[in-house]
């Protein structure tokens, strides 16, 4: 699964830190970028690279919700159902998507394209209700727009994020970004959405 080139990347990740154990989280993201989820092979490799026991690695991997111990879809969709988003439509969106996709929370569509999870507050409350896909922002969603989004994913041409790159990267591609690998797409997309700029706009208008 892991090539010599992958091992070289993992080595460079370890070298970022004064103490190697700190690399465990980016390495787990990196394993997800290659395998799609945290595989046993990945856990054993990380343990070997960091001279840890495998139990120590799995203890960390199971603590954080972004690390998956089974495959997710090529596009992993998270619907915020924390209070504010839930009240403003997140609950309806989540119920709508479950129904539309025929899967439950943490489920994956049979074609492996889309997986669904209800997520906690994703720091975009002024854009509520919020949907994340591969941890990219889809702002101000409705039940209908969310259905359109997952349909576009299943057709292999996902609608681009509201605030993010020009097109939606895959789960694996974005996992590599979370491992700290620069995909060269930082300059894509808007610098801010309207709500972010509202106060500045009002100030400039002297309000």
């Amino acid at each position: 699964m892991f090539s010599d080139q992958d091992l070289a990347v993992m080595d460079s990740i370890i070298k970022r830190y004064p103490r190697s154990r700190s690399a465990i989280m980016p390495l787990l993201h990196y394993v997800q970028s290659k395998a799609g989820y945290v595989t046993n092979e990945g856990i054993e490799l990380i343990a070997k690279l960091l001279t840890l026991e495998t139990a120590e690695v799995s203890a960390v991997a199971t603590f954080y919700t972004q690390y998956k111990r089974k495959p997710v879809g090529e596009y992993h969709v998270g619907v915020c159902t924390n209070t504010l988003c839930a009240v403003m439509g997140g609950d309806a969106i989540f119920a709508g998507l479950k129904n539309h996709l025929g899967i439950e929370n943490d489920g994956v569509t049979a074609d492996g394209k889309v997986s669904l999870e209800h997520i906690e507050c994703n720091a975009a409350c002024d854009y509520a209700p919020v949907v994340m896909a591969n941890w990219e922002f889809y702002d101000n969603q409705s039940v209908e727009s969310a259905k359109d989004l997952v349909d576009s994913m299943r057709q292999g041409n996902p609608i681009p994020p509201t605030r993010g790159p020009k097109s939606l990267p895959t789960w694996k591609e974005n996992s590599a970004v979370l491992a700290g690998i620069n995909d060269g797409r930082a300059n894509e997309g808007v610098q801010a959405g309207e709500p972010t700029l509202l106060g500045l706009k009002l100030a400039k208008e002297g309000k």
Binding site: T83, A123, D126, Q191, E194, L202
Partner: protein
């Protein structure tokens, strides 16, 4: 004159605001050059004089925190920036970093110089990929431009979904490659933080505020805000309002003033309850519209300024449902280390579910409050305390609504009415 004072947000409306070119064009990296020419202690003094307080929630004076780092101890010192923005309702650091990552980098350079650290880490939550991209690119560009790498190194560390890692010692354990569970204190991070070395942990907005303070001086900053809460800050307005968004204003502005700027509560509706600083800060109601939103004002009214996450809920919102959902959040995010938080949130959720769906009883309210009493101040860290805030404050203000769920054997609210697409009809 506007009540708003965009400093952090001053250039966010430039399309390329996140690039090093734009940042430099707007005077970026001049403050760090100025600070690096100063004695580190003078930088600490300047930040102390400015009155800047932590923007992550606790409001601890930033300069004083820096001053706690023992000097001349021949140990490595570390700066760790807490970018794990996860408190429900909080959405300021994320847009800040998306629009202007360089201001954080420049703040890090200044802070490292002040505390004699050669190494800084930014711990960012993992669920914001594009922000990670922007920050990573900015760090690369800052290295290329020579701002980093000459005595100060900065590493971006990406989290993986754990609210508890916003707690500074849990963050440090997570950064060291462990499960993100809070550490016993003492020792405090200033003495034994990252890798058991003296460490300053600051919020993104706190560090990002520093370049402007260095550039314009402490007196300039002191002019803004109130007696003990100096400067300007980002207020994040969300929920049932006509125009949600970020409002950078001097500390002490009121919700009434911000709501006016935002075009008010959703048209045709009225304010029911709101959080001043995220879900862990006790709820306010329409009786609190004129409270000065500074550290002292909010605290005197029985809540906390927190992260200035103003979540607005109108009269269509069921407070029991809102509180249940927050409680489910705390249960999901409890790290599991201590009994009160782990078991308490598990139990609270069950009682609240019963109450919400009408199968609860009036005695459940007393039980809830007693349970909160057994969790608040008994848990290992503030997460457990925070979990009790929405419950105790909502019962304080909306006891009748809880009772109505019991007597009516169900929730009297229509959830559709509170959605933003209610007018168009929820599909």
């Amino acid at each position: 004159m506007s009540k708003l004072t965009p400093v952090l947000s001053a250039h966010w409306d430039e399309k390329d605001s996140f690039t090093i070119e734009a940042y430099t064009r707007n005077g970026g990296y001049k403050a760090s050059a100025k600070a690096l020419a100063m004695d580190p202690d003078a930088v600490i003094q300047l930040v102390k004089d400015s009155g800047l307080r932590g923007r992550g929630g606790a409001g601890f004076p930033t300069g004083m925190k820096w001053g706690f780092i023992p000097q001349g101890d021949n140990k490595e010192h570390y700066l760790v920036v807490n970018a794990d923005e996860s408190e429900p309702g909080t959405c300021k650091d994320t847009p800040l970093l998306m629009a202007n990552p360089h201001v954080l980098i420049e703040g890090c350079i200044i802070a490292c110089h002040a505390i004699r650290a050669k190494h800084a880490f930014v711990y960012i939550r993992g669920e914001v990929t594009h922000v990670v991209r922007r920050l990573n690119q900015a760090i690369e560009d800052a290295y290329k431009a020579g701002h980093l790498g000459k005595g100060i190194d900065l590493v971006l560390h990406v989290g993986a979904g754990a609210y508890i890692c916003g707690e500074e010692t849990a963050l440090l354990d997570s950064l060291e490659g462990f499960r993100g569970q809070p550490r016993l204190r003492p020792p405090f991070p200033a003495i034994a933080g990252l890798y058991a070395r003296p460490t300053v942990v600051n919020n993104v907005e706190s560090i990002a505020s520093v370049p402007a303070i260095i550039a314009n001086g402490a007196e300039w900053y002191q002019k803004y805000g109130t007696e003990k809460s100096k400067g300007m800050t980002l207020y994040s307005l969300s929920g049932h309002v006509n125009n949600p968004g970020q409002f950078e204003a001097p500390l002490g502005i009121t919700l009434r003033e911000i709501l006016e700027l935002a075009g008010g509560v959703r048209t045709g509706h009225k304010l029911k309850f709101w959080t001043p600083g995220g879900s862990s800060t006790p709820l306010f109601t329409d009786a609190h519209l004129d409270i000065a939103l500074d550290y002292e004002g909010v605290s005197a009214a029985g809540s906390m300024l927190g992260t200035k996450a103003l979540q607005i809920f109108d009269e269509t919102t069921c407070v029991v449902r809102a509180v249940l959902r927050w409680t489910e959040f705390y249960k999901h995010e409890s790290c599991g280390k201590c009994t009160p938080c782990r078991e308490g949130t598990w139990w609270l959720v069950q009682i609240l579910r019963d109450l919400e769906n009408g199968s609860g009883s009036e005695e459940d309210l007393a039980k809830l409050l007693d349970l909160c009493d057994n969790i608040m101040g008994r848990s290992f860290c503030a997460l457990g305390d925070g979990a009790t805030s929405p419950i105790t404050s909502s019962i304080k203000y909306f006891r009748d609504e809880y009772i109505a769920h019991v007597t009516g054997k169900g929730c009297p609210f229509d959830p559709v009415a509170s959605t933003i697409f209610s007018g168009a009809g929820a599909r």
